[in-house]
């Protein structure tokens, strides 16, 4: 699975905000190289800059310094982004929402429909194409948001605590489906989460970040076989990693909560 081709190169990226009482460091310099097709989890407490890092990679915010290089050969939309909330357009059907990035990029309707319908099927929403977002549950809306993020086929998928608003059962299901989607599409995925279990279960590598100031503390390589499933959660290696991640977040410098 681990191709050697680099997809995201982050070199000394940092971010400070100017506030009333001076400057606040949101993120101390971070450097990491992410390979194509890699699944990265980022864990850390609130205020550790993990969402900031994601926003910098996506281009939503500008870094104060350092550089981020995406190997995406001049694509207009190199990243798909899944927010904590689904952020669907409430007046559009699920199909129209998923097709929205294609519509606004000038893709022909018929082709857009084909792509969107395939994705809707892939995220398990077949039969709900004509439904409005308010008619779906939180988990289903988040599936639609994932389908939308994938619709114009970006090589990179950034996910900012995508499953934190859904219940635990749904979350487990969504995690498994995310792995399936990742395996079938070969996207490079960066997933921000509060949950160390989720981080370890999904990722090739886990970035541990600590707060005040936000910084990258360490990176763990996850030595768990693919494909992962319920057996993975019984694996002692998995438990050891989860325990290690918890310790990382608790030791001084990491104000876990």
């Amino acid at each position: 699975m681990a191709q050697s081709e680099r997809m995201i190169d982050i070199a000394g990226v940092h971010k400070t905000f100017v506030a009333d009482h001076g400057t606040v460091t949101a993120l101390e310099p971070v450097s990491i190289t992410i390979r194509q097709g890699e699944f990265i989890s980022i864990v850390g407490p609130s205020g550790c800059g993990k969402s900031t890092l994601l926003r910098l990679i996506s281009g939503l915010d500008q870094a104060t310094g350092g550089s981020i290089t995406l190997d995406v050969s001049g694509r207009k939309r190199p990243v798909g982004f899944v927010f904590q909330e689904p952020v669907l357009l409430p007046w559009k059907t699920i199909l129209d929402n998923v097709r929205f990035p294609l519509d606004t990029a000038g893709v022909a309707r018929a082709q857009g429909d084909r792509t969107a319908l395939d994705l809707i099927k892939m995220v398990g929403l077949a039969g709900f194409e004509k439904a409005l977002p308010r008619q779906l549950s939180g988990g289903m809306r988040q599936r639609a948001a994932i389908a939308r993020a994938l619709s114009d086929d970006p090589p990179i998928l950034l996910m900012d605590e995508p499953f934190s608003a859904v219940d635990l059962m749904t979350r487990d299901n969504l995690n498994d489906e995310l792995l399936r989607i990742w395996q079938s599409t070969g996207k490079t995925i960066l997933l921000v989460t509060h949950s160390v279990d989720e981080a370890a279960y999904l990722a090739d590598r886990v970035m541990v970040m600590t707060a005040r100031p936000g910084k990258l503390k360490c990176v763990h390589t996850v030595e768990l076989a693919r494909p992962r499933g319920e057996e993975t959660k019984l694996d002692p290696t998995y438990h050891a990693l989860v325990a290690q991640l918890r310790r990382d977040l608790r030791t001084p410098g990491g104000e876990a909560h």
């Binding site: 939309r77 909330e85 952020v87 357009l89 007046w91 559009k92 929205f100 606004t104 990029a105």
Partner: protein
Amino acid sequence: MNRRFSAAVDYTLALAVLLFVWWFATGPMALPTFLLPSPLRTWNALVTIALTGELWAHLGFTLQNIVLGLVLGCVAGIALAYVMTRFPKLAVWLDGPLVILQTAPKIALAPLFVVWFGFGVLSKIILIFSLVFFPVFIGAVAGFRTLDPKMKDLSKLLGLSAVQRFRQIELPAAMPEIFVGLKIGAVQALVGAVLAEWMAGKVGLGYLMTFAAATYKTPLLFAAVLMTVVLGLLLHVALTMMERRLLSWKGAKNG
């Protein structure tokens, strides 16, 4: 369906009672016609002007002014609200003048509009415009300001053009609040249209009223008043249908 049917029955009953009271006052109670013409006389007056075509000319003129004023007021209200939310600096400058204009009683300005813009269509449409503009503007400002910031992130990620962002995200998102303003504006527009015709000109339902009153043709006056009531109802129905279509996604009306 059943509820709709019973609502129709209720309306018809209420109308029948009203008609009966009206008839009772003019028939058995024998109120003189110059105070209150009977339903039949009023109906006859209405049919007469309908047959001569006079009614349609008056009705058409008033309706045309209302529609023009509504459309122009809406477009301008939404446009200024959008510009002001996009450029907050401009909002600081415009806030003061706008508050003064908004609180100024537009009806009181009506004679001034006649002086400035003449006896023709222009002064009438400007009065209606001024009545429609503010409710729509205030609604639109509220709508644009409450836009979910995540929607801005979405449009930035997708690299939407300003036009795409406005048409696909900002305008539909603000539509519920715009409609609140539009519905207030529509009622005001009818008031403004009739009032403008009272003051000047030789066409319109408002003119018909002043003409009938001045010549003591009370049945004709009643017919004209009835037509404005019908016009108000038609406007309400048209707007409600538009709202159902445009805002069905809110699901407030039908579950």
